[in-house]
């Protein structure tokens, strides 16, 4: 079966491929369109599942909801073989560098689905150890609301990603990169991010300020000075 036979079927969108001739036997199109079509029909997802959403992600990938219908069933646990990352679950600050590292390891082009409110905004965990949305450090293409989202919501997100691929869209910068207030938090490359942090820390040290993100408490741990409160 040659590639043209595939175009004969229902997959062909006549508006997208205007050059269908001789009843579909001959198609004139651009290489770009064929590549995009291939990409969107065979997504290889990398599940970065951490919490409750991962259980719901499991439900989507298993027999009942069957993600394979959208060509996205080849789950790759190695980021180097994946082009779509599902971030399913809360990402605490401790996990953030790991997430960033895995995102960096994925080859371009890559897309990210932020599944559930925790990954999108921190959800109802507005607390000391939870990142308030993964878009502080990685670009997000589709946010899926819900806690956890219904499987239909996740399937809709996969279709949105396919649409984005068709239109050649891809999120390039982390949308919430300035949320924490430190420059470089959202730099695409982790080396650039660390570099920006180091510069910022040095700049602040020159002004006699402490690095950002350091808190002064009434009682500091493990210090000899006699603490007091009130």
């Amino acid at each position: 079966m040659g590639i043209l036979d595939i175009f004969k079927g229902k997959m062909v969108d006549p508006t997208m491929y205007p050059g269908v001739h001789a009843g579909g036997d001959v198609v004139t199109t651009t290489l770009d369109a064929v590549v995009k079509w291939g990409r969107k029909s065979s997504l290889w997802p990398m599940p970065f599942g951490t919490a409750c959403c991962a259980i719901e992600f499991m439900a989507v990938s298993l027999s009942h909801y069957d993600m394979a219908r959208f060509g996205a069933e080849v789950l790759r646990f190695s980021p180097r073989q994946a082009d779509l990352m599902f971030v399913a679950g809360t990402v605490p600050d401790k996990l953030a560098p790991v997430l960033k590292m895995i995102y960096d390891q994925m080859p371009e082009p890559k897309w990210v689905i932020s599944m559930g409110v925790c990954a999108s905004t921190g959800g109802f965990y507005r607390s000391y150890h939870v990142m308030q949305g993964i878009d502080e450090i990685v670009p997000v293409d589709v946010y899926v609301p819900g806690c956890p989202p219904a499987p239909e919501g996740l399937i809709a997100a996969i279709m949105k990603i396919q649409e984005k691929i068709k239109n050649g869209e891809q999120a390039k910068r982390p949308q919430g990169e300035n949320r924490l207030g430190a420059p470089g938090d959202g730099a695409i490359d982790r080396r650039a991010r660390r570099h920006a942090w180091a510069l910022d820390d040095a700049e602040r040290a020159k002004q006699g300020l402490k690095p950002r993100g350091v808190l002064e408490l009434r009682v500091l741990p493990n210090q000899d000075e006699t603490p007091s409160h009130g």
């Binding site: 599942g49 409750c52 439900a59 027999s63 600050d93 401790k94 942090w197 350091v214 808190l215 007091s228």
Partner: protein, 571 residues
């Protein structure tokens, strides 16, 4: 197995109980206070006698508190009725005598130090480390007092009352090494996780490898630390229910059940019998769901995906049932303090029967695929063995403890929600290996089906939430028709439930065993302190010890069989 029901849930507490008597005899004046509240016995001892008191509890033949449960800190900042700022609370259970105990001591703010009890209970290690991490209470003699739940760049101790709830710190690089490789060693350091499929996304283990054999191992956690306990301190008792769903998210309903029971114990309100029966039915379905994910994921880790496909079908049917009851599939938020949010739908019985049928099929199919499969048996038998004594000392509970041969099941030993009316067995293993834990889980699913059948057969009629207007909202028909109910509704929503001052330890049998909620109330609408006693935490703590000397591939088989759930482990 005998299905006799334990008659008392707790021995007579207070000054008459053997615990108080023995402690007073041994420690004399060091016992500063004995409290009894809602049947919970709490003994306060002086700081100098802490280790001696814990040792007495463990070793005295009349007390025999062999099962370690919990050590946690409490911060009584600016509380007039507490002289010292910090309090350290120890919980333990005696399997032979069937009683719980709470032992407390206090540390002043300028010297938050306490001797360690890690030499008495193996499980105390991480619990003390956590208390240091979150409260800054130093345990003298602790082998490794480092950050446990929070990350290395964290400044301060976040559970202290003067720490702002949402103050974050950025971690720039993760910890590279958990283990020290000796100079000139030819062993290889192998890092597994946290983003590794066998580690389920959030656990991390480093192993020192000699070929295929693990010489040394160390685990790290906290990758899912999302501050359940801190959030509880700024939420009302109702608002905490959705948070509890996200603890052990494989069996969300049971966590809410446990939380509601703990608060009901604090408030001393009773749940109507119909609500109790529905809670039992849904809890048992949750247990089946939990075990399906545990067994299925365990086998996926070992390379067999078919059982997962087959058994997950039952989960989908149970999801449908839950969705019909409350509108959510996974995180249900169905319980309320004193009952349930709403009555079940009219076709509840038919749905339950359909779900039961699906469960029976799934269990039978899973059994056929797995139990006698030679590859599976070869991977599981005599791997990850845990002895009875060690299991108790690590603080194991639930299917893991029963797999090691100790028949402690909260449903049987301290029946709640009417479990004493149902006839069911508690399966136990005899070797304590992965295969035993697997068999215990399979049998528990069958017993759950039995319980559900009985509960459905005699599902009582009546209301599903208590009519105590200080706890439950009045029905909407009354709110819209008379002013008292409207005011009542307003006051309850605005002020929340106002419990009496006091502290309770409420517990139920979750998917992984006894999950306890230790609640300290100061009479306001927010709890002063909530501590979840997570079963996984103690179970995962033993994991590095279990895999030492074994093969790397066996470690993967073991961790899946322990059913460590990140949401509950790290809270």
């Amino acid at each position: 197995m005998a299905s006799a029901v334990a008659e008392t849930t707790n021995p007579p507490a207070g000054s008459t109980s053997p615990t108080t008597r023995v402690l007073k005899e041994t420690l004399g004046d060091a016992v500063t206070k004995v409290d009894e509240f809602r049947g919970d016995l709490a003994v306060t001892v002086a700081r100098d006698s802490w280790v001696k008191a814990v040792q007495t509890l463990r070793d005295h033949p009349e007390l025999d508190y062999k099962l370690f449960l919990d050590i946690c800190g409490v911060d009584y900042l600016d509380k007039d009725d507490h002289e010292d700022r910090y309090e350290v609370v120890f919980h333990a259970y005696s399997v032979s005598k069937k009683h719980h105990v709470r032992l407390k001591t206090s540390c002043p703010e300028n010297d938050p130090k306490l001797p360690t009890v890690t030499h008495l209970y193996k499980g105390a290690n991480w619990f003390e480390r956590e208390a240091w991490d979150l409260y800054g209470i130093t345990f003298d003699g602790h082998p490794r007092l480092e950050r446990l739940l929070t990350h290395d760049s964290f400044v301060g101790h976040p559970m202290r009352k003067d720490y702002p709830t949402a103050q974050r710190h950025v971690l720039k690089t993760p910890r590279e090494r958990l283990l020290n490789v000796p100079e000139g060693s030819e062993h290889m350091l192998m890092n597994i996780g946290p983003a590794h499929p066998a580690m389920h996304g959030t656990f991390r283990v480093q192993a020192l490898m000699d070929g295929e054999t693990i010489v040394d191992a160390e685990a790290e956690l906290g990758y899912m630390h999302r501050n359940f306990e801190k959030m509880c301190e700024v939420r009302t008792y109702w608002q905490i229910i959705p948070y509890t769903d996200r603890l052990n998210y494989c069996s969300a309903f049971m966590n809410g059940h446990g939380w509601a029971m703990a608060v009901e114990k604090l408030l001393d309100v009773k749940c109507p019998p119909r609500a109790d029966a529905i809670r039992v039915i849904l809890s048992e379905f949750s247990r089946i769901m939990d075990h399906i994910v545990c067994i299925g994921a365990n086998l996926v880790d070992l390379g067999g995906i078919t059982p997962m496909f087959v058994m997950f079908r039952a989960r989908e049917v149970i999801y449908d049932l839950l969705e019909a009851c409350c509108g959510a599939r996974l995180t249900v938020s169905y319980v309320r303090i004193g009952g349930l949010a709403d009555d079940v739908p009219q076709d509840f019985e038919a749905r339950v029967k359909a779900a039961l049928e699906a469960c029976r099929t799934a269990i039978a199919d899973g059994e056929k695929l797995v139990t006698r499969n030679p590859i599976f048996v070869g991977r599981f038998k005599d791997v990850g063995v845990m002895s009875k004594e060690n299991a108790l000392s690590w603080g194991w509970v639930g299917p893991a403890l029963r797999g090691s041969g100790i028949a402690y099941d909260v449903r049987k030993d301290h029946p709640y929600s009417g479990y004493d009316q149902y006839d069911f067995d508690v399966p136990v293993g005899d070797v304590g290996d992965n295969y035993d834990r697997y068999l215990v889980r399979m049998e528990e699913m069958r017993q759950s089906v039995r319980i559900i059948e009985q509960a459905l057969a005699k599902l009582p009629k009546g209301p599903v939430i208590t009519d105590d207007r200080k706890v439950a909202l009045p029905p909407k028909s009354e709110v819209y028709s008379n002013i008292e109910s409207l005011m009542n509704h307003f006051k309850l929503v605005y002020d929340g439930i106002l419990p009496p001052k006091g502290e309770v330890y409420g517990y139920n049998e979750g998917g992984n065993g006894e999950q306890g909620f230790y609640i300290v109330s100061d009479g306001r609408k927010f709890p002063w302190r909530v501590k979840l006693r997570p079963p996984c935490f103690a179970i995962y703590q033993a994991f590095p010890e279990m895999i030492k000397g074994g093969l790397l591939a066996d470690a993967v088989a073991t961790i899946g069989g322990l059913n460590v759930i990140a949401g509950e482990l790290d809270r």
